[in-house]
């Protein structure tokens, strides 16, 4: 068997001399690394810069009021006295109220989509629920002002008052705007978030555990109660906290329906205000530097809250996912 060597085949060393690669190719690796690293550092820098800047903006308010800002109910631009207490109260009530309503609804929807709905319609219905999250908040607020508010005022609240008026919570005044419509709007905004995250968490429950319960003769609900829910509990808590973060930070839709009257009272049907809502409402001319700085102080509070919520939620959701991966 002859292998003709008609043309001399070049020695390998010549081939490896790297003639095949132009200068761009050689430095391409390094260039890509530097470019992408720069982008990554930029992203981190944005977060740090944001934190720094808003703290900087808030500094004059902080130096004037200190931590007492958080407990003072004053908000008087004329006298130059500012305090966040009323708004903190509003934020807490609105977001907790929203999560109180949103959590069971979201869990029910997630159960529906993972256990009960006919398989063929699961993606479609799931997509529809997620589309709810895609509605711009200003449009939900518009709907809240013009449709939901009057509806509640004319139809829902009178009934509530008539039937449950003996409970102080439902016995007071009500109007077109207030905390209650804001809670409902926030519920609408947080349900898609909490339910889609809960749905993902339910999907990590090992099917063998579920089958084991059913094989013992459990009803579907009993299986869910004994297997799915306990397994998912930290994840659900994480999802709820994430939803809480969303509710706390929502400015636009809330400011449209809440009535922008800061006060602390137990009647959720009266107008109120929240931290985010107040900031949004002041865009048309916070007069003094101190006022602007106080609004920045609000922003700092919101940022710290979002930081805490995000980190805690992440930890909880991760713990469920890593658990399922290791036992998977």
């Amino acid at each position: 068997m002859t292998t003709e060597t008609t043309t001399a085949t070049p020695p390998v060393s010549a081939l490896l001399a790297g003639k095949g690669r132009g200068i761009v190719d050689r430095f391409g690796d390094r260039a890509l690394y530097v470019l992408t690293l720069a982008a990554a550092l930029l992203s981190v820098a944005i977060v740090l810069g944001l934190a720094y800047k808003i703290v900087d903006e808030a500094s004059s308010a902080f130096s004037t009021f200190g931590f007492g800002f958080l407990t003072s109910s004053d908000f008087d631009p004329v006298k130059g006295n500012f305090g966040a207490a009323d708004f903190i109260y509003g934020t807490v009530v609105s977001s907790f109220g929203a999560l109180l309503l949103a959590t069971p609804i979201s869990i029910a929807i997630a159960l529906f989509l993972t256990e009960l709905a006919p398989r063929s319609s699961r993606t479609a219905i799931g997509t529809l629920v997620e589309l709810l999250a895609g509605i711009p908040s200003v449009i939900l607020g518009l709907w809240g002002i013009i449709i939901l508010g009057p509806f509640l005022n004319d139809h829902f609240e009178p009934i509530l008052h008539a039937v449950l008026g003996w409970i102080p919570l439902f016995g007071g005044q009500y109007g077109l705007v207030g905390m209650f419509p804001a809670i409902l709007i926030l519920t609408i905004m947080t349900v898609p978030i909490v339910s889609s995250l809960t749905r993902e968490i339910f999907a990590t429950v090992p099917p063998t555990d579920k089958e084991g319960a059913l094989a013992l003769g459990a009803t579907r609900w009993e299986m869910i109660k004994t297997v799915v829910l306990p397994y998912s509990r930290p994840g659900i808590v994480g999802a709820v906290i994430l939803g809480l973060g969303r509710a706390v930070g929502e400015a636009i839709a809330v400011t449209q329906v809440i009535g922008n009257t800061a006060a602390i009272h137990s009647n959720i049907f009266l107008p109120a205000d929240t931290l985010a809502s107040k900031i949004a409402n002041s865009y048309q001319g916070a007069a003094t530097d101190l006022q602007i700085s106080s609004l920045a102080y609000f922003a700092v509070i919101l940022f710290v809250l979002s930081l805490i919520f995000n980190s805690v939620a992440r930890l909880l959701v991760r713990s469920v996912e890593s658990r399922s991966r290791s036992s998977g």
């Binding site: 982008a39 944001l50 979201s106 029910a108 711009p136 869910i224």
Partner: protein, 300 residues
């Protein structure tokens, strides 16, 4: 199905204990779940229907081309300048956020150690969770305070909102590219950067486009970041980003706060335009995403 089976046999009935009660509880759960799902879809339908019904009447060519004047009385004007303004603001924001987001995703997928990857993901998640009104205050302090509002500052604010969305979806999509596809590229004698740029990224491309589209849909509807940064504008058609530019969501916000019913009508019409565009983009993005997952699934 389970809940409709009746134990006929006395033996089974004896062992079923409080089966009736248990089955009732099960039924109750099923009903609640159905109710919740119907509620969610119902609210969605309700909101969209309200916008459609209330807005359709005011839509006209005039409306789409005339300029918005929040201070003018009556129903004169339209959203022409707001449409142009939104286009410019979101367009510039996309040009800023998408390349950076893609590059960050490439970094975490190709170069980062596990620890850097987690750190960067953490910061991106944080950024994603920052309330948009806070982002507005940030950009206000950075670019507006001491100067004046500008469309450019508005785009930067929107870009900051978009960045974590783009980065996260690109990260997920790049991670889906099968390792063997990358190996095929390397084995052919492509350098690492060449493999990334000519093999990995194109494989993930439709997923990246989906991520970008969803981020754009989000940015189109954002009001809060713009309030302090690009909200005081003249009722004329403006396209210079060094000046504050009007935008559709901000205009809707201002109209909605107005006491005049005529302005409310315009708000509904603008909302109809906005929601139609946002929903359209979201649906296109999801179709693209489903298609890409199918294709990559075949390759695994």
């Amino acid at each position: 199905m389970e809940s409709t089976r009746k134990p006929e046999h006395p033996l089974l009935a004896a062992r079923s204990g409080n089966l009736r009660r248990r089955r009732a509880a099960n039924r109750g759960m099923e009903i609640s779940a159905w109710v919740a799902a119907v509620l969610a879809v119902g609210v969605l339908a309700l909101v969209i229907a309200s916008v459609a019904v209330k807005g359709i009447g005011s839509i006209s060519l005039d409306f789409l081309t005339k300029n918005a004047d929040p201070n003018a009385l009556g129903s004169t004007g339209g959203i022409g300048n707001a449409l142009v303004g939104t286009g410019i603001l979101v367009g510039l924001a996309t040009l800023m956020a998408v390349p950076v987001g893609i590059l960050v995703a490439i970094y975490t997928n190709e170069f980062a150690s596990a620890r850097s990857r987690n750190t960067i993901r953490y910061f991106l998640d944080l950024l994603n969770g920052v309330p948009t009104i806070v982002t507005g205050i940030f950009i206000f302090g950075l670019l507006v305070a001491g100067h004046q509002q500008s469309g450019f500052a508005g785009s930067v604010a929107l870009a900051v909102v978009m960045l974590p969305l783009v980065a996260r979806s690109c990260q997920e999509v790049l991670a889906l590219v099968p390792e063997t596809t990358k190996e095929a590229g390397l084995a052919l004698g492509a350098s690492r950067w060449r493999t990334t740029v000519s093999v990995v990224v194109p494989t993930a491309l439709s997923g990246m486009i989906t991520g970008a589209l969803l981020a754009v849909a989000r940015a189109l509807g954002e009001t809060a970041p713009l309030l302090f940064v690009s909200s005081i504008f003249a009722p004329t058609l403006a396209s210079d980003p060094s000046q504050p530019l009007p935008s559709v969501p901000v205009v809707i916000f201002q109209f909605s706060e107005s006491p005049e019913p005529a302005k409310h009508d315009q708000a509904w019409a603008a909302a109809l335009v906005l929601i139609a565009v946002v929903l359209l983009i979201s649906i296109v993005a999801r179709i693209l995403s489903a298609r890409m997952r199918r294709r990559l699934g075949a390759a695994r």
